[in-house]
Structures are given as C-alpha cells and as structure tokens.
Point group: C2
DNA sequence: CTGAAAGCGCTTACAG
DNA sequence: CTGAAAGCGCTTACAG
C-alpha cells in the first residue's frame, strides 16, 4: 500500500494537521519541523492522494467558458466540445459554465467578465477580443487571483496566464509551404481571402504566409488580401470577382472562415481553371471539399483538445498539479484527403 | 451544492447501501426499488463523485506497459512518455509499471504476459508481436477479464479491447499524396525503404502508398521495398546502393525507422541529386533534417498522446467512465519545416 | 507553532 | 432484499 498522511505523521512524530500544513506549504510551522516532515515524505515516497484531497476540500471547481456567438462553424464546435467536456468532467468535481458573447464586441465581453464573482469561480477561458474594456476586465480578474486563459485568439498584452491555441504565424507559413510545394514549376498569383484584417489571427497568418512566399517561391506572387467578413455570400462574391479579374491565379489561401462561400465560388468554375486551395478548419464542408479535390489541404486546430487543455491548465493553476507540456501544445494539423480523422 | 448519495437515499426512502447498489448496477435489489431510486437520481440530477468513489474503494489502479527494447527512437520515446504519465497520474491512484521486452520476440513477450497476475493488475498496454504464444497469453488475460490495448502496432485477430495507434494504410497513402504533390510535373522512380516487411505496420504503410501512387501518379513508379532492419548502418548502406544503382530516383519514402542511416546517406550526395523525402516519426534528427531541407515532410504519431489514451481507455473499461471518442483518435500528423511543434 | 476530532461522498463487509 | 456503521485519505475549524 502507498504511504498516507497517517504514516508520515507517525514516522515524523507530528499530527495530521502538521503534515497537511507541510504538504500544502502553509504558514505556521517551525522550520525544523518542516524539514523533518519533508525528510519523511521523501523517505517514504509519499504522494498525496488527489481524490481524497478534493473530497475533503469539498470544492467544486467552477470554470467559465466565454465563446463568441454567430454562425462561425469553428466557434460552434468549440462550444459543443466545451459542453461535452463539462459532462465528462462532472464526476471529477469540475463544473463548466459555457456562455456566449456577441462576436467582436469588446464591451459585451467585458460586461460578462465584470459580472463574474471571483469568489464563485475557479477559472475563466475566453476567446479574447482586443479592446480596452476587455483589458480592464481581465486586470480585475487578475488582481482577484482568478486564473484566465485565452482561447484560439490571443491578446498578448492583456493579463492572462496562458494562451491556448496555435501559433498563427507558423500556420500561415505552413499554408505557404504547402502551396509553394504543390505549385512546383508553376508561375502565377495567389489569392488571399480573409475575414477581416482587424483580427489578430488573420493578420498573423497573412504575415507568416508572405514571409515564406516572398523568400522561397519567386515563381508565386501573393495578391493583396480581400476581406469576406467570414460569411458565406460575401466570401462567395469576392472570390468570384477575384478569380474573374485575374486569370493568372494558380493558388488560393483562405485565411479565415467563410469556407462555404469559397466552395460555392470554386464549384461553378471548370475543373481546369480551379486554383490549388489551402484553407483552415475541418468541418463537414471542408472535408467534402478535400475529398472531392476542390481543396488540396486543410490546416486545422483541434477544438476538443483546446477545450480540454484550457481546463487542465486552469485547474493546474489552482491545484498544484503539474502539467505535461507536450500534452498542452496545440498542434497545427495538416490534413490531406488521406489522413482525415 | 450537488446532490449526494445521502440526498438520493433520503428522497427515495432507502439506505445508502441500496443507493450504492443501484448506482453501480449490482444484484440483489427489488426491481421496484431500483426504479424508485433511478427516478430520484434523474430528478435530482445526481452525478456520482468519482473522487469519493475511488477513495472508498481504496483501489490503486495498476497498469502494465510492455514496450520493445532496443535503439528504436520511437519506442524509447514511448517508454519515457509512459514513465512521465505514470508520475503525473500517481495522485489519481493510477500506478504505472513500465517493462521492456526483447523486440520481435513473441515468446519473450508471451512470457511476460503469462507472468502477470490478473488479480494484481487493472489493465495491460502492449506493442504487440503477432506470434502464437502472444495470442494465447492474450486469450488468458481476456478470460480473466483484464482489459488489454495494443499500442502502435496492432494484432487485429488477437483478443484485445482496442487498438491505440494510427491507421497505417492511411499513413502510407498520406506519404504518397505528399510525394505525388511535391513531385508535380516530374517523372521518375520512388525508393521505398522499410525495416522489415514482416512487420504489420510497414506492410500496411506500403500498401497505402502503392494504392495512391499507382492510381493517381502515373509519372511516378514505386520501386520494390528494400529492407534496412531499422538500424543505422544497414539503412545507410542500402540507401546508398539504391540511389547509386538508379539515377532516376526522384523521391524516397522511409516506411520504418533507421532515419539516421538515411540522413547520412543523403548528406553525402550533392544537393541537386537528392530526392524528395518523406519519413516517419519526429525526433531531434528528423527535425534537423526537415529544417535543413534534407527531408521534406515527416509523418508522426504522438507517443505521449498514445500513452495517455491507452491509460484513459483501460481505465474506462474498469470504471464506468465514458470516453470522448475524439480525444482518443490518434492523428496521422504531418509536419513540414513550418509547423514543427 | 501544534494537535484532536469531525467530516467530505462514496463503498464495504456484516447482520438481519 | 435491505440497512447501520465503519472506513478510505485527506482537510478544516477550533482549541490550546
């Protein structure tokens, strides 16, 4: 059997309460006692039983997820994954509360954050909007010692404990390398479609993309970004305009959402006049586009993984549980038709 | 506060013991009582506190990992990830026991399996060797109700509860699509290097690779597999021979291990005479090869993920915990220089 | 600075 | 078929 606090207390000649104080690094124990207890812990190889600790603390760990509203497939996926994780985590005393906030609305997001009672919650995960009211709301939570992680889209200058998501510059570079390689020996232009160049992730992806195309693929020229506002009809329209205007387009990188509009625009063109396409996020639609040959690669981030990583990260900031770094790294996943999950 | 067994017992007018019997589906409760208790559980929204249950059961959940010995980088990675996970899981009452077995030695593996006492262990994860003694050993564990998962390399016809690893046919297809795309407009041959065609994963990858090259890339011809026994000097030698013999080689797919030998063989050739290379498994060496342009893509499976997935899967077979399927899917990861973790 | 005792929410013999 | 009581390994007021 594994040694328990009783064994440690007995061997060190102290009470349970003192062992508890030492284990949890609480104040009010003479230094010599601390050392004695710690020696015994090492000697016996004591490891705290987390189940018992949680039980005794009788704490339910409440985590709030705040996710943007709207038709964005990825955000809806994130939301359903959060609810699913909430169900799975319930037996472990973790209570997830998932709320949605108007997209791109800093004030609305800040209002939600300001409505949270720091004593009631153990952590917050949010898709950040980089706006001043959000900065202030996060500062308040920070000073109340509420752990916060940003999800998917970071706000590096705001107070948060960690960013859980992909490196978007690297994602853009990856898109460029794929298109560059797939267009070996071909000269022409590449169309770039984004939702809005006001959003950090889109800007960062664009940056990474340009870095690689400019320095490594002189045969290709990236056109200025056209913005489709991440919605279906406008994306469709701007892609059509773009392809009609410029017959030299041999590749297309969709930096943001709006894949449905893109698929519609591409479908109506004759096969031989379709560009090589790299887009983001796996969904039923992009998967079908990949399988039919309309898209050539998808760059994806795993929404379920992000949710679970956020939960583990937040919990580790309250429990003294250590994380396995490798488990928390969010991969830039590359999918071809052949390695679809 | 969440309802507890006490609340359920009170509301249903039964004792704690009866509630416990119903929750855990144990025998010996009148059907009408079961229904009454279940109704209350639903009504109150009772969810069992897993921490308390584990504590009361006082059970440490012992899992045995059996991993092949030898210099194979991936297997060593798997071993260290298992030990790391063991450390992280200890507070949750999971005790990992990691042992190594001579590689490709069915009898040795079977001996280890036969030495396990079914009453002492909660589950087994092993890299399977498809040999008759292993089949028998797994049958014995199966009839003793010990959950077993195969790791990395499956033995589909043996008794195991699940395979935790990638789909190797799909991995081979992915390699083919990458090389096919990267070699657009180029005609020539592709060298295939494996460890041994007696191992299931290598055979399956080869099969997937051929499927795609034959049907979609008439400009490319896959040469017969040469076997490098997954070691450095022989892989180096056969790659050198192969490239010297055939100046038409424009691509190379390393199906197995032995990447160090491959890197040596490639390094000594002039840049313009090097083929496009796709290989398996990320390591310090393959990462460097990718960064320097010697390799063009790496297909990887995440050893840490596999280990943790095996643990969750085994535990779910004992606890009645349900898995999130998406979390247990092992991805066929594609890395270019730009999306390295 | 230290300790005795109660309690967290389950499960487990044991008794009936 | 059902229940009363003890116990799992921690933590928490409270007393000293």
């Amino acid at each position: 059997m594994r040694p328990t606090v009783h064994d440690v207390a007995h061997a060190a000649g102290v009470s349970l309460a003192t062992v508890d104080r030492v284990i949890n690094g609480r104040e009010g124990v003479r230094a010599s006692t601390v050392q004695r207890v710690e020696a015994v812990i090492r000697q016996l190889g004591f490891v705290r039983n987390q189940a018992a600790a949680n039980l005794a603390k009788g704490r339910v760990y409440r985590i709030v997820f705040i996710i943007p509203e709207g038709a964005n497939t990825f955000m809806r996926r994130l939301e359903s994954e959060a609810r699913e994780a909430g169900r799975q985590m319930a037996p472990d005393g973790i209570e997830l509360c998932v709320v949605t906030a108007p997209a791109f609305d800093g004030q609305a997001l800040a209002d939600i954050l300001n409505g949270l009672d720091p004593n009631e919650i153990g952590g917050v995960a949010l898709v950040a909007t980089e706006a001043p009211p959000v900065r202030q709301a996060l500062a308040r939570l920070h000073s109340a010692n509420v752990p916060v992680v940003t999800l998917v889209s970071d706000a590096p200058s705001f107070q948060r404990h960690r960013y859980v998501g992909i490196d978007n510059v690297a994602a853009g570079r990856t898109a460029a390398s794929l298109l560059g390689r797939f267009l070996r020996g071909v000269s022409g232009k590449i169309a770039l479609v984004a939702g809005s160049m006001l959003v950090r992730d889109h800007v960062e992806r664009r940056m990474g993309f340009d870095q690689v195309i400019r320095t490594e693929y002189p045969n290709l020229e990236a056109l200025p970004v056209v913005e489709g506002r991440d919605d279906r009809p406008s994306t469709r329209r701007i892609v059509e305009e773009c392809l009609d205007r410029d017959p030299d387009i041999v590749g297309l990188y969709n930096i943001g959402a709006g894949n449905l509009g893109l698929i519609e625009a591409l479908s109506e063109r004759p096969t031989e006049r379709r560009p090589m396409v790299v887009a983001h996020e796996l969904s039923v639609h992009t998967r079908a586009a990949l399988e039919s040959g309309l898209f050539h690669a998808i760059i994806n981030q795993d929404a379920g993984h992000e949710v679970r990583s956020a939960i583990r990260t937040l919990r580790s900031l309250t429990d003294q549980r250590t994380l396995i770094e490798g488990q928390e790294h969010i991969r830039i996943e590359v999918y071809l038709r052949d390695n679809l999950p």
